[in-house]
Symmetry: C2
């Protein structure tokens, strides 16, 4: 599949899943920002190590995908690590341009879940539920009703 | 599965895989270090959002796993984001103690791939291959042998 074999030292440590893939987290080496999560197969990891350019496996297109090949938003790999059980890859990169295809710096930029809004909604629900439950409140004082 | 339903605002954005899971990257909010990657199902994400404690789905044990429940190495969630296509979660946390069950700060600590050693080995292989190929070198000047 690739002209670049995965080095034995890495092949012995990495654990691909049943589909032959491993998740790869890519982090900006300068800022520490997590830029994206994508997938690597044997060839993508081998190519990333050999070329020091972030290269992934596109599950949707079924092909190797060198990040920035069409957009120019390439990733120069600074370091690669595997986690404790070898089933996740962490790349630290020098990212050229935005990492996300939508044009944002990272794929997580401006996509936070509003925890305070959730908490407020939850509190409102609790009040509503408590009010709705009030007519039967006497029953529940028995303990296990 | 959980007493805490996933809020509709999040349910509409998250894309679980065929197994009902989504990868979750956990990052130290203070240092930016990527601590670990684990998996969440609907209940794990809902519990994480409701309790602001890092909670995952253990694929090996088949159960919800509140990080630090046995070790005390809990995660206080500072922020949660989904990526551009909703199939990855990023948690920023205040980590108590080491994040990795092996006792290292992160699951990637001291587990770097030595890129320079790989490059040196690759260069040595290339020299060996070139030397081994020398006897037949005349043949190859023909172009496509």
């Amino acid at each position: 599949m690739s002209s670049t074999p995965l080095p034995a030292a890495v092949r012995d440590r990495v654990r691909f899943d049943a589909d032959g893939l491993v998740p790869a987290i890519t982090q900006d080496a300068a800022t520490g920002e997590v830029l994206m999560m994508a997938w690597m197969n044997d060839a993508a990891l081998a190519t990333t190590l050999a070329t020091r350019r972030g290269t992934y496996w596109s599950r949707s297109r079924g092909e190797l995908w060198r990040k920035g090949a069409s957009s120019g938003h390439t990733q120069q790999v600074v370091s690669v690590a595997l986690d404790c059980d070898g089933d996740t890859v962490l790349l630290r990169v020098e990212q050229t341009g935005p990492a996300c295809h939508t044009g944002t710096t990272s794929c997580f930029t401006d996509r936070a879940v509003d925890l305070d809004a959730l908490e407020a909604a939850e509190a409102a629900d609790t009040v509503e539920t408590a009010e709705a439950a009030r007519p039967g409140e006497e029953d529940r004082t028995d303990g296990d009703s």
